[in-house]
Structure formats: C-alpha cells, structure tokens
C-alpha cells in the first residue's frame, strides 16, 4: 500500500521551550520556574509553524529546505507523532496522524536529526529489537538486519556496542534502523549533516534505491546541493511558512535571470543602482546595507567588466564581486533577502 503525506494549515506555537526528546531541534535545558511576588510575566510564545499546507504524492522524494529554526524539524515532528500541532491536520496515507497514531507509526520510519541509538545494545541488536517492536519474526529480523548491515557497510562492527561508533557510522545505523521494518514513508531529518562526501554519496544512492520501490521520502536539509540532486519536488520554508514550492528546475527558473552577482562598493547610490539596472541581461537590482547590491541577471562573469567600468565612470570603488550560478541558494536569497547560511 503506497502512502503519501498531506498537511492542512499546520500551526504550532510553543509557550515554552520544547522538551528535549520531542526532536524539535536541539533544546536540552529545562526552563527555570519564575519565582517572586507580583504578576507573572507572560510566557514568551514561539511560532514554529505558521500554516504549513503540503501535499506529497506517494513515491515522491520531497525535500523541506530552509535555514535552522525555519520549522523543518517541527513539521517532521508533527508528522511522526512527536509534536502535537496547535491547529491544523496532518495525514500519512489515509490516516490522521493525531487520531490514529499507532496506524501511522506502522507506516513510517524516522531518522532524527541527532543520533538516538540505543547505547545499551550492539548494532545488530539495535536492528533486531527495532524489528521486534514492529512484530517481525526472529528469522525475518536476523535476515533483514544482516542485509542492512551489509548494505550500510557496518558488518565488521555489527556486534560491537554503538557507544564507540563515529558520527557517520551512527548516522548510517540510524538510517538502517529506520528501514528495518520496511516503512512506506521514510523521514530523514538532516540526514547528511556531519557526513563525509563519500558517505553522503552512499546515503543518496540508498535513498534513491529505496524510493524506486515506490516508497515516499521526506527529507529536510539546508544543503542546496542535496536538495537539487535528490528531490523530485521541494518546499522552501522560512519562519514556519512555505515560501516556494515546486521542482528544483521550476524553482531555479523562477529566480530572475538565474545568476546572482553580489557586489560591494565603497559607497552605493540610487544613481549607480539605476545604471546597473540598465546593463543588458540585468533583471533585477536590490540595494543592500548602503554599500552592497544584489544583481539578478541572465549572465554571470561577462557582466563583471561592465560593472567595473560603470563603477569607475561613476567614481565609485568596486570592492568585492561574488558570482553565483543558478542555484537554490539564489532562490532562497531572492525570496527571503537572506542567505541560507546566515
């Protein structure tokens, strides 16, 4: 049975820091209680999700792209029964996540952002017990664990405690564990964070292969390259809202021109910006902090000489030029005015 993912106007407002185990992005402290006399100050409210509606088809690799704190992990938390939404609905296949949690948990496999392996067990036992929680027979468990250990290149450490594993090995084992019960929908929250390039390629290959059998995959990342290489469609999320949605190709085509020249001058003036706008191939010019300008254009390097000429003619010093080719990074910048890495 193939299963897709659907959310309708999901909102999540925290009135205090989310508990550490809720998997919502790394808070690990317990807030102190306010003491003293007088009225209590109102609790600060954090809006993590501000009306997320998504429709992800069965068999799709879908990516949530956004900076830290954008609401990616909270969305995953709601869809995986770990974060209760303040309002809105979430569905896995035909099941409402919050009305039918057990049925949903049977359909999903989850790889959390931070490793959460069972430190009291060996790698093989982690897979076997996970299989047992999902009702696999002992022969099935042993067979499937063996296959996954082989596939994820963990066989030589299979019978060791995971305490001594490197970050990359833990991540591979987490993904193997999530696949152990052959879920219809696989959630990967920042799966390649901290992985070396070689392991990242292995991960991509495994994700594509898993998807070929019709499985739905939702992954979050702030890595443009990953989203571009892996996803059929993606949503760009910022401040708990979807700000762009489509295939990587469509989204990149939506950036005016595609190329982005980030310029920095000694001083910038409206006149200079106007002249930049009149250069051939320039689609859009945005002023930035008094000395900078972002130029969206349909060509890159060949514009630099013209920009330099224009600057020297205006008696302004050109201090820095950065050219980006058409990319999702440019797209994010275009929509939010901020770089993904900021």
């Amino acid at each position: 049975m193939l299963a897709g993912i659907r959310t309708v106007d999901l909102r999540k407002v925290y009135s205090s820091a989310p508990p550490a185990a809720a998997g919502t992005g790394g808070f690990s402290f317990v807030p102190g209680k306010a003491k003293g006399k007088g009225p209590k100050p109102p609790k600060p409210q954090i809006v993590a999700l501000d009306g997320i509606s998504l429709e992800i088809q069965p068999g799709e690799i879908f990516c949530l792209l956004g900076p830290n704190g954008a609401g990616k992990s909270t969305t995953v938390g709601v869809l995986t029964t770990r974060v209760r939404p303040t309002s809105g609905q979430a569905f896995i296949g035909e099941h409402d996540v919050w009305a039918n949690q057990v049925a949903v948990k049977r359909l999903i496999g989850v790889v959390a952002q931070r490793p959460n392996l069972d430190f009291a067990l060996t790698a093989r036992e982690i897979l076997a017990f996970h299989g047992a929680y999902f009702g696999l027979s002992s022969t099935e468990r042993a067979k499937r664990a063996e296959e996954l250990l082989e596939r994820f290149k963990l066989k030589d450490r299979a019978d060791q405690m995971v305490r001594g594993f490197s970050g990359g090995m833990m991540q591979r084992l987490s993904i193997a564990r999530a696949m152990m019960h052959d879920p219809q929908v696989l959630f990967l929250d920042e799966p390649s964070a901290g992985l070396d390039p070689q392991t990242r390629l292995l991960l991509w290959e495994i994700v594509r292969e898993y998807n070929r059998s019709g499985k739905t995959i939702l992954l979050t990342t702030h890595n443009m390259e990953e989203a571009d290489a892996l996803c059929h469609r993606l949503a760009i999320i910022d401040h708990g809202r979807v700000i762009a949605l489509g295939t990587p190709r469509e989204l990149k085509a939506s950036v005016p021109g595609g190329y982005l020249l980030r310029l920095r001058f000694g001083i910038q003036s409206p006149d200079l910006l106007q002249r930049l706008q009149s250069l051939s191939g320039v689609r859009e010019v945005r002023a930035k902090d008094g000395t900078g300008a972002d130029v969206y254009a349909d060509r890159g390097g060949s514009l630099v000489a013209e920009v330099a000429n224009l600057a020297s003619a205006a008696g302004v010093e050109l201090n820095d030029v950065h050219i980006s080719e058409p990319s999702l990074e440019n797209l994010f910048l275009h929509h939010t005015g901020r770089s993904l890495r900021e």
Binding site: T24, V30, R84, L121, A132, R177
Partner: protein, 256 residues
C-alpha cells in the same frame, strides 16, 4: 494494545539488565549487606544491640533494597534517555500507544525490585544466622505486600525519572531518596518513634514507612507494626498517585 511490541520492549530491558548483571548486583546489594554486617553482626555481636534486632532489621533492609532497585531501574534510564541520549525515541515510535511504554518501564522495574527483595532474604539470613526469626504465617499476604512495595518503587521511579532534570540527579538522591530511607522506619519500627510524637505523625507521608511496616508485619509479626489494613490501603493509594503523576509527566516529555 500491541502485546508483541510491549513484550519486545520487556525483552530489551531484560537483555540490558542481563548484560549489566555484575554492576547491577553490586549496586543493589553492596550497601544493604554492609549494613547487615555492621548492625546485624558487629553491633549485635559486641552487645550494643539486642539479638532480636537481627530479625527486626531484615524487613527494613528488604524494603530499602526493593525501593532502591525499582527507583534506580526506572528513573535513571528515563532521565538519561529523555534528556541526554534520546535513545527512548526509537521505542516511542514503535507501533504502540506511548503510555504503554511507561507501563512497560513500571513492569520491568517491578520485576527487578521483586527479584532484589527476594534475593535479600536468603543473603541476609546467611549473614545473620543464627538468631533470625522469620514467621511467614500468611505467604499470600506477604507476596501481596511484596508486589505492592515493588510496584511502589517502580511507579516512584517513573514519577521521579520524568520530573528530575539531568543535572539534579545528585539532588534527587540527597533530597528525596536519602530522607525517605532514614525516615522510612527501615532501621527501626514505627512504634519506636512514640517518644517523638510530631515526627511519628510526620513520617506517615513517607510511603516507605508502609513498605517497611508491611514487610515487618508479614515477615516478623512478633514485633510491633502498623495494621496491615492501613499498610495495604496506603500502598495502594501511593501506587495510584505516583503512577498517574508519572504517566502524565511521561506523556508530557514524550510529546511536545
């Protein structure tokens, strides 16, 4: 209810306990048995304590062992797994209602506490003999009290484990567990507090009092003890209170 997942989780806890059996044995028995040696043998043998103290001490030691084991077995993993290692997440995502995971923790803790309690009797008897007078005239009643005491230790562990932040584990032992043991009528019967009427009333809020007195009433009824009806009622009350509190806090930690 998904019994397969529930039993698999019990099997996981049993597997981990078996792997750590040596450390677990030391942790459970070393301190109580040293106490048995000093108070039961040295103090009695040198005449500072009457010989009858041996028999009086045994139920109290059993209560300490059971309560310590249950609290440790449930609370410590919960504190670490929710806050630091997050290893509980895999079990929270198993196809079973989240609250049943808390029930599983309580069942595992109860079984460990029962095993610890039943092992203390022969161990202490070997160390103290001769002169230990056990009179188990109602074995079923004794079993019932033992199960309630074990359950209390595990539900207490659940409530504590879901309330205490990781950096306050030390405080949990010095502020909660240690006073509970010293004011829990473990080393003396409740009637010994007669000369301290305020203290005698105050200690009644301590559930360990009913655990020690209940075991005393069923193992060595020749000594003064609280009425069994009061003991059973109090233990059932505390079990229900701690279990519902623990369950609520567990859910609050598991889902944000």
């Amino acid at each position: 209810m998904n019994w397969k997942a529930f039993l698999a989780m019990l099997a996981r806890d049993a597997h981990v306990a078996r792997r750590n059996i040596v450390a677990l044995l030391f942790q459970t028995f070393l301190q109580p048995l040293m106490f048995v040696i000093i108070f039961g043998r040295v103090m009695v043998g040198s005449g500072y304590m009457p010989p009858a103290y041996k028999s009086l001490l045994l139920p109290g030691i059993m209560a300490i062992c059971m309560v310590g084991t249950g609290i440790w077995a449930v609370a410590m993993p919960l504190i670490a797994e929710f806050q630091f290692t997050r290893e509980i997440e895999d079990r929270l995502l198993a196809p079973m209602e989240i609250s049943w995971l808390a029930v599983e923790k309580v069942v595992a803790g109860t079984l460990q506490a029962l095993a610890a309690g039943l092992m203390v009797i022969p161990a202490a008897w070997l160390l103290l003999r001769p002169g230990v007078d056990l009179h188990v005239s109602h074995p079923f009643l004794f079993a019932g009290v033992a199960v309630l005491v074990a359950l209390f230790s595990a539900t207490g562990g659940l409530a504590l484990g879901c309330s205490v932040p990781q950096n306050n584990i030390g405080l949990m032992f010095s502020l909660v567990v240690a006073p509970m043991i010293f004011f829990g009528c473990t080393y003396y019967p409740w009637s010994a507090l007669q000369k301290f009427p305020v203290l005698q009333k105050a200690v009644l809020v301590n559930p360990l009092v009913y655990a020690s007195e209940g075991l005393r009433a069923t193992l060595v009824p020749q000594f003064p003890h609280l009425s069994l009806v009061a003991v059973l009622a109090a233990l059932i009350f505390f079990n229900a209170l701690l279990f519902t509190t623990g369950l609520r806090k567990f859910y609050g930690k598991a889902v944000s």
